[in-house]
Amino acid sequence: MTQQCGEIIRLCRAERSYFSGDARVKALDDVDLTITAGSTLAIMGASGSGKSTLLNVIGCLDRLTSGRYLLNGVDVSTLDDNDISTLRLNSFGFIFQSFHLIPQLNVLENIELPLYYAGVPGGAARERAKDLAATMGLEQRWFHRPSQLSGGQQQRVAIARALANDPDILLADEPTGNLDSATGWQILAVLYDLAAGGKTLIMVTHDQQIAAQMEHHLYMRDGAVLRAQVAQERQ
């Protein structure tokens, strides 16, 4: 949190291509992007425009075919799988459209998972999971399985899990896509709060209204950045 205004993510001539049959498809084509710590970014575009790929690349789930990706000044392509896993564990919090909770684990266990991979001892992990569940308003749901929860509750669990290791960057891939609008706005409120608290928030969305709350907008088409703009200055 020390480099509040420093650049945290930088993509230079980023390209990601894959083969679909014989055709070479460029999911990302020559993307340049700089994100400063603590800012919020909405990535928008039609489906298939490469916004999810961009988010995955930023979140170190995917690797660039060419170009450079600097995270806090470190070239991610030089890191091995172990280091990248550690990055995902400590620096990023993922929030997915379809929640991606592990069905056989209960709420607390799902939230504990990143703590457990980070090696936090059982008791401390449980305390932290309980705290997180409380901040997300899930006190009554500790031992429920994901299937016993509503969509909004599931997404809250997912956010709690994303926050477990206190990452600097939150990556949300259409977090409200599977929720009704009222619940969706509640979830978004939670995310905006977190951003206001100093987290870098990067969100993929279709919805102009949602994007309107974000500082920066990035419109994409066919893997390339169509337009980038600063929508509003943060107060």
């Binding site: 990055l87 564990l89 991606h100 990143p114 899990r161």
Partner: protein, 434 residues
């Protein structure tokens, strides 16, 4: 985590991962209880068959070893045996075929072999006792008191033979407990007389021979033995056997049927065996003496048992292999089924080795359950075998430990591939997997 408490932290960390993974693994397996059970069935039978087969093998071996050990591992037995090769023309002309051990042999052995404790000369003759309601077949053993030192038997009542019986040529007999029941069912044994070939022998002692009658290995003593002093036997029976049967007749002269030689210690048995062999072959030009060394039989039996164990072990190993492949198959299916879960775990920061550990522990938990169930079954099987067939079985701790070690290794070996495969999944593809 600070570098300061990294060391203690690391061990705690490993412990933590282990406990949680085990609990998680058990939960996952319980989620598919029936499937897990069917999966381990192969291993259960594999482990059970390892234990049961080793138990049967050990039991059989143990029985053989027991019998050989009964003869004494420090004993060498010389037997007179009728030479198989056709006798030369000159010898055939003689009225008797002369072969076997002589009194002189006993003397020579006694004087030449250094590490020897006692030499027991034995004369054997089969006989019937007729003065009973039913005739009783006995084996007359002419020997000295040393017999009872060499052949392990327990004295039930009375006394064994003494040197005075030998010197004074007393017509006394020691009989086996088994024979007393046939010969003197209602009378007191000691002081009673047993009539053999027209002579009466006063029974002075009763011995119980060890081992059962159906022993597979030929033992020196038998349940129908009547022991009398050698000098008496020599006097009353002579050395010549004449038997006329239909179509054949036996005319032979055998001085001693057997010599039991007890050595000072086990270590000299092999060397003494060789010395005895050269001594005998010097004075016996025919192949009419066989040397039996129980110690060598013991080694032989141990070798046979090892071979037996290897064969049984291989069969069991194959069944374990099949069980292991079954587990691997299910784990591969499970990895495919849980692709999304693996993707989620990887996305939130699980390292590859953590995924490997998770799946490996699950397989090991599975195979341990299989191992334990197999162990129980493996303990029950030999018991049932003994109960229904009467075969001796012996479950050794070694076989139990072995089977548990094997089942854990099966889990590790056959779990490794599915676990590694799980960890190699691409997180994005895994996440999108439906």
């Amino acid at each position: 985590m600070n570098t300061k408490n990294l060391d203690s932290g690391l061990s705690r960390f490993m412990q933590l991962i282990f406990v949680r993974d085990v609990v998680l693994g058990i939960n996952n397996l319980l989620l598919h209880g029936m499937r897990s059970f069917l999966t381990i069935l192969g291993l259960v039978f594999g482990v059970a068959s390892v234990i049961a087969m080793l138990a049967v093998g050990n039991g059989a071996g143990q029985e053989a070893l027991e019998q050989i050990r009964k003869l004494g591992s420090d004993v060498v037995i010389l037997n007179s045996s009728k030479p198989l090769v056709a006798e030369k023309q000159s010898q055939r002309k003689r009225f008797f075929s002369v072969y076997g051990l002589t009194y002189l042999d006993a003397q020579r052995i006694h004087e030449t072999i250094p590490a020897l404790k006692v030499v027991v000369p034995v004369k054997l003759r089969s006989e019937q006792v007729y003065d009973r309601p039913t005739s009783v077949g006995v084996r007359v053993v002419g020997t000295t008191g040393n017999w009872f030192n060499v052949v392990r038997s327990t004295l039930v009542s009375g006394r064994t033979l003494t040197p005075f019986d030998e010197y004074d040529r007393r017509a006394v007999a020691v009989i086996t407990e088994n024979l007393t029941r046939k010969l003197f069912p209602l009378q007191s044994v000691l002081g009673n007389f047993v009539r053999l070939k027209g002579s009466c022998y006063k029974v002075v002692g009763v011995v119980r021979i060890s081992g059962d009658a159906e022993s597979k290995v030929e033992s020196v003593d038998s349940a129908k033995d009547v022991y009398i002093p050698l000098s008496v036997m020599r006097e009353r029976y002579g050395d010549i056997v004449l038997q006329r049967g239909t179509g054949s007749s036996v005319r032979e002269k055998v001085e001693l049927s057997q010599l039991l030689i007890k050595m000072n210690s086990e270590s000299v048995v092999a060397a003494s065996g060789a010395a005895l062999h050269s001594l005998i072959s010097r004075f016996h030009h025919k192949d009419d003496v066989s040397i039996r060394i129980p110690l060598q039989l013991l080694h032989q039996a141990q070798k046979t048992q090892r071979r037996f164990n290897i064969v049984l072990g291989s069969i069991a190993a194959i069944s374990l292999l099949v069980g292991g492949i079954g587990i691997m198959n299910i784990m591969l299916a499970s990895v495919t089924e849980r692709t999304r879960e693996i993707g989620i775990r990887r996305a939130i920061g699980a390292r590859r080795w953590q995924i490997v550990t998770q799946f490996l522990i699950e397989t090991v938990v599975l195979s341990c359950c299989g191992g334990l169930l197999g162990l129980l079954l493996g303990l029950a099987l030999p018991w049932l075998i003994t109960h229904f067939t009467g075969l001796t079985t012996l479950v050794t701790t070694y076989s139990l430990v072995l089977s548990l070690v094997i089942s854990v290794s099966v889990g590790v070996i056959f779990g490794l591939y599915p676990a590694i495969r799980a960890s190699r999944l691409d997180p994005i593809t895994a996440l999108r997997y439906e």
